[in-house]
Symmetry: T
Subunit: 143 residues, 12 copies
Amino acid sequence: MKRILVLNGPNLNMLGKREPDVYGRETYEEIMTELSSYIDAKGFKADFYQSNIEGELINRIHSAIGFYDYIIINPGAFTHTSVALRDALLSVSIPFIEVHLSNIFSREPFRHHSYLSDVAKGVITGFGKYSYFMAVDFLFRIM
Amino acid sequence: MKRILVLNGPNLNMLGKREPDVYGRETYEEIMTELSSYIDAKGFKADFYQSNIEGELINRIHSAIGFYDYIIINPGAFTHTSVALRDALLSVSIPFIEVHLSNIFSREPFRHHSYLSDVAKGVITGFGKYSYFMAVDFLFRIM
Amino acid sequence: MKRILVLNGPNLNMLGKREPDVYGRETYEEIMTELSSYIDAKGFKADFYQSNIEGELINRIHSAIGFYDYIIINPGAFTHTSVALRDALLSVSIPFIEVHLSNIFSREPFRHHSYLSDVAKGVITGFGKYSYFMAVDFLFRIM
Amino acid sequence: MKRILVLNGPNLNMLGKREPDVYGRETYEEIMTELSSYIDAKGFKADFYQSNIEGELINRIHSAIGFYDYIIINPGAFTHTSVALRDALLSVSIPFIEVHLSNIFSREPFRHHSYLSDVAKGVITGFGKYSYFMAVDFLFRIM
Amino acid sequence: MKRILVLNGPNLNMLGKREPDVYGRETYEEIMTELSSYIDAKGFKADFYQSNIEGELINRIHSAIGFYDYIIINPGAFTHTSVALRDALLSVSIPFIEVHLSNIFSREPFRHHSYLSDVAKGVITGFGKYSYFMAVDFLFRIM
Amino acid sequence: MKRILVLNGPNLNMLGKREPDVYGRETYEEIMTELSSYIDAKGFKADFYQSNIEGELINRIHSAIGFYDYIIINPGAFTHTSVALRDALLSVSIPFIEVHLSNIFSREPFRHHSYLSDVAKGVITGFGKYSYFMAVDFLFRIM
Amino acid sequence: MKRILVLNGPNLNMLGKREPDVYGRETYEEIMTELSSYIDAKGFKADFYQSNIEGELINRIHSAIGFYDYIIINPGAFTHTSVALRDALLSVSIPFIEVHLSNIFSREPFRHHSYLSDVAKGVITGFGKYSYFMAVDFLFRIM
Amino acid sequence: MKRILVLNGPNLNMLGKREPDVYGRETYEEIMTELSSYIDAKGFKADFYQSNIEGELINRIHSAIGFYDYIIINPGAFTHTSVALRDALLSVSIPFIEVHLSNIFSREPFRHHSYLSDVAKGVITGFGKYSYFMAVDFLFRIM
Amino acid sequence: MKRILVLNGPNLNMLGKREPDVYGRETYEEIMTELSSYIDAKGFKADFYQSNIEGELINRIHSAIGFYDYIIINPGAFTHTSVALRDALLSVSIPFIEVHLSNIFSREPFRHHSYLSDVAKGVITGFGKYSYFMAVDFLFRIM
Amino acid sequence: MKRILVLNGPNLNMLGKREPDVYGRETYEEIMTELSSYIDAKGFKADFYQSNIEGELINRIHSAIGFYDYIIINPGAFTHTSVALRDALLSVSIPFIEVHLSNIFSREPFRHHSYLSDVAKGVITGFGKYSYFMAVDFLFRIM
Amino acid sequence: MKRILVLNGPNLNMLGKREPDVYGRETYEEIMTELSSYIDAKGFKADFYQSNIEGELINRIHSAIGFYDYIIINPGAFTHTSVALRDALLSVSIPFIEVHLSNIFSREPFRHHSYLSDVAKGVITGFGKYSYFMAVDFLFRIM
Amino acid sequence: MKRILVLNGPNLNMLGKREPDVYGRETYEEIMTELSSYIDAKGFKADFYQSNIEGELINRIHSAIGFYDYIIINPGAFTHTSVALRDALLSVSIPFIEVHLSNIFSREPFRHHSYLSDVAKGVITGFGKYSYFMAVDFLFRIM
């Protein structure tokens, strides 16, 4: 059975509590629960982790080595500032998909660049919570 | 029944004939046929159009007004150079999804900027032919 | 009798059908008809041409050689991207006026640069349909 | 009866005395006299002001509040350097048209940017003295 | 009674121990104690938090939701590098004031840009420990 | 008794008459009167000067030499364009505080740079009229 | 017998009719006729195509697959703006030589960059019509 | 007898009173008096003008037309910000020499660019008061 | 006896487990053990610390104050993004040497800039694990 | 009989000894000997000079004045860094052709700019040793 | 007796032989002879050196240590490209004046920056051969 | 026995004679003598070469082919300006170490970029004369 690690970066725990115009009204827990069921239904096994601390995300990625087949990551604001996260993902040689809830290209210019995209398998941005689900759809097709 | 217009820009007719390392071995016709079946199965109605001429794509978009509920567009190289295509999509007020087969962020720097992304619903890049299918998956969820 | 060629670039055929907040509610046909009457009243002879295909505009400019005294051109989105259109206008040695319906300087930054302005006689931007009429007013004064 | 304020910035008092290749041979006084007659004939009332001192232009704009319906301004070199002039025009909430005698886009690069254009109704550049007259033509059409 | 959260970013715990030419000789504890008394005297209730870990500051901001009326934050070096901190402050919809002890504009160029300033109520920079007190003065005036 | 010179740059005389969303509804005179009382109450002596002419502000600064202990300056639009004002302030060796009513960092990009900030004692931006009062509060603490 | 495709981009059909100071007085037809004879004399077989429409050039390149051994292309203004032309040339895996009549490096800065040069075999610029002939000379030496 | 106009821009009236490390201890009046004697001794006739108001300098330049053979100008801070001063000097067609007391190239980066230098006869920078005298020496040699 | 603190930033704990082409096959533990022996043999006393959390590295630096004579730091990805780390090192006034295993100048452009180098004693980059040893060699020579 | 000077810049003496993937296996001497024969056969007279010292190349160009009809120069790395070489070529008023063995546009970005190209007759790049021969072919056609 | 070293960089030996519109018709030898007489008449002792080889100029500067009181240098094209020349001048701690015959600010943009100006005593540019003489005039005044 | 070539670029012969604050008081000869002894003691054989002429350094590198196992180079100011030196080092395929006495990252911005670093084995900067010795230490470890 294929294993997936779903990672969420800073402030995503505030989903549903913050800026509903940008991010929607469902909470982080609701979305992850729904996603978990969806992944199970696809026949995969998933674990979930969220942290606001860059280094804790890095630690979680390190411990993923040899255990997961794919990572789905919404790096939040670390997308634009964290070389360390990029290095962590490269260090474990697990392919990953970068997802964003909002369309980062219609927001501030400093959100248009990602330190992860060029080393990701692919990027899905702008589809709200469905960005996660579409990543799973892709994994289901190829795994 | 919801209607979808699938647009493909320049050189995508060469799929399967060009650079298989980057774009895979399936031909444009094969992929679009498979996509057509998939869309039908989802209960949508789709039309397909490909052109290497920017203005013909614009004409096709203009004639879409009031007829389609969503556009899925792989703008190819026009992604990076065509303000006119952006204007055409805005002029018809049909929401659209931008898809790319390859991961444009791991290619030449001039492919990192898109004139369409900030006015798209969302962007899917890097998943090969599945980028189209994932766009359909999203539409199925929201329509 | 002096002859004028009025050229319109991509998406201008959608006038009145698109973004009325930006471009107004009159259609392209209505505006050109009114403009035609105005030019006639001034004692000039005018022809009109619109295309969404850059190369067709170039072809039309080439065929203008030795036939028209002035060109009034609203290059639309090609303003910002087409060196070929610039070269076409230079190649026929017909003086031209660049007009824009909207104020391009209050829109996206990529609309602030024009490949035509420095070789135009002058530029009129932001006066809605009257931008065309003011170009005619100028020609009436000097021809 | 509609009232128009015609403002001219630095060095425009030298018109006809300076660089005739760029600006023509008519003097500032001759052009403004002709313009005054033209505005009168259109049924408007106009006042004229020129200064080489940025702050005096600002003072004149402030005193225009509630008195004029439109401002026609040739800001001269202040076009490219004066944020204060921009603020003055915004502070009185009188719509204005920016005009230039020469084609600023075919001159030095530092003349290609204007601090006024994005907040102007529109811009007319390159038509010599007729740039003023065309601004009046526009006002006649809309007022 | 109004509640204020005073946040201090990385290295501010070293105040008084580091570079006295830049930051003065009073320790972090001394300044915060004096500030606490001042806030009490104004009739507000304040809590204080300092961390060198970006994610801990984010966590502290998240837990502030619905509890504080205003945040006074000296983000230290995170001012220039942390999009995540910006997002955290936006996510809780608590207005905040950005303060700096030193004048960041007379230091290295990379300290001239702040990821927080444009979404802050206001910015106070260069007044040593009094930057905090002046923020309180403002709150006293408006709350 | 300590003496303070309060300087205001271009368009600040229009306060209360212009863009109340940005600058509030109180007039320049009302604010300065209130500020004057506040300074008196603190035991300082203040003079006030406003001009829309850069050179008049410079002249006023020159005449301040040896007479004032501190300058509070709201340079308005000259903040972003006037090297001469910077030089004038340096030439008299009187320390000064730069204040802004609006938050210049949440406005147009050309307002993000100041020619004065790096040579100011400190900068206060975004607190409406209270920016002046907070500057006085600081002076009260140190003088 | 080796086969060569000679492609010419926008406005080159105007050769001899436009800007003789820059491009010389011989017409496009005269030059291509002379070039055709020269290629024949070298023992190659050549076809010629010119279009002002980017997409038609792309179509012509696509149909060249498996048929020509080398392409000689003067992309005209598309040199500087067309990523799609670059992709078309890459898609058919036919080596090509980029030629220019004028010295693009002594013209406007926007003509100094080419989207084709880095994937061309080589570039010949500035030798008037002889740029084409020199490309043939090279092919004669290596084929 | 040849006539020279010596112009000095903002803050130069403060010479000897400001930053003696940068500008020396002699006052503006002392230097101009010494310069006046030197010019007289060379057999020229000179007039002197200083203003802190850009527009007054422009007015003085305008009134110089047809009266002076050469202008020596120390534009002070206007060097770096005033396009209007450049235009004024061009408008009167009097050749001019740009002088600076301090070496502008060893000061802040924004002092490295001059709006006057490229249209000046020449530039003399860094020699203290002698920069003026050396300009006179040059005029003595050529006039 | 001189004391040295050896600090390692994010992902360096993965040495030997990640990208052996770039970083070699020895593990972090093996290298640090060998380095520890080498430092002992030189007669110094060393402590070692590694963290993936920026703030923990800062905390460790703060606690080093008055205890270590030199710091050897491989900041990993924080090299390019952490102003806070720079400030921490400056705050304790302990001289430090920046080392890198790989040659950062032959990697991605964003790795060419370091926030630490200009305040380091010196920088050693590209020598694999020997970069650490060479830093010790230097300390042995000067301490 | 027409005379040609063939100049080669730094490191070209290493041809055939260095990086054969980029520059081929023939030595400098072999190529120049073959080129010499070819030039003789065309009825021209040629001299050859190579130096790794910029100033020696300049000296050789100076001594060419009035003696050669054309210069063919491969400036090697001086292409990108030597203004002095550009000035030397301009100083002798001998037209010249710039040639490169490799395609400089597919190499490092700093090789994309040439200080010579805009003042050359034309540029030939990427054809290996044949770049020289093609330059001769051109001279044979025009001389 | 004070000693002066006059240094001239690349291509200045061609003075009078090259581009007389830019540099005048007098030869290098004629100018230096006249300059030599002028320096003698001032009571100084001068030596002269010109080279087209950067390193020879550096060698000459090194040998000047302890022997000359001032250097007058026209660095020619090395002005814009030679950090080594800057270092050589700094290494001997002899003050120097940078002179240029032409006005470098009215020439190509790459001539607007000098690697020497910020460490020179001053700069004289645009006065033809008199630039040298004016440097001597300055030395006469201060030595 | 392994052979090392130690190269020093421009102005390094002035070591000990120039700017002791930056470079120390030991002369070039003293340092090289000490280094020579150290290399001998390590069992290597070294040759030394210094020149202020870029092309002589290139010549020396060319003659090193097949003779030396490693090059240690302090390129001095050529670090920042010489593509030719880079090419020379690449042309001989001898690995090399780049060393600098001073910390180039704490000096002028134009010293922060090196044309050699990305093709060097590694870089050692800021350790005074010990930078050379540390390079030898590395070679001792690997050879």
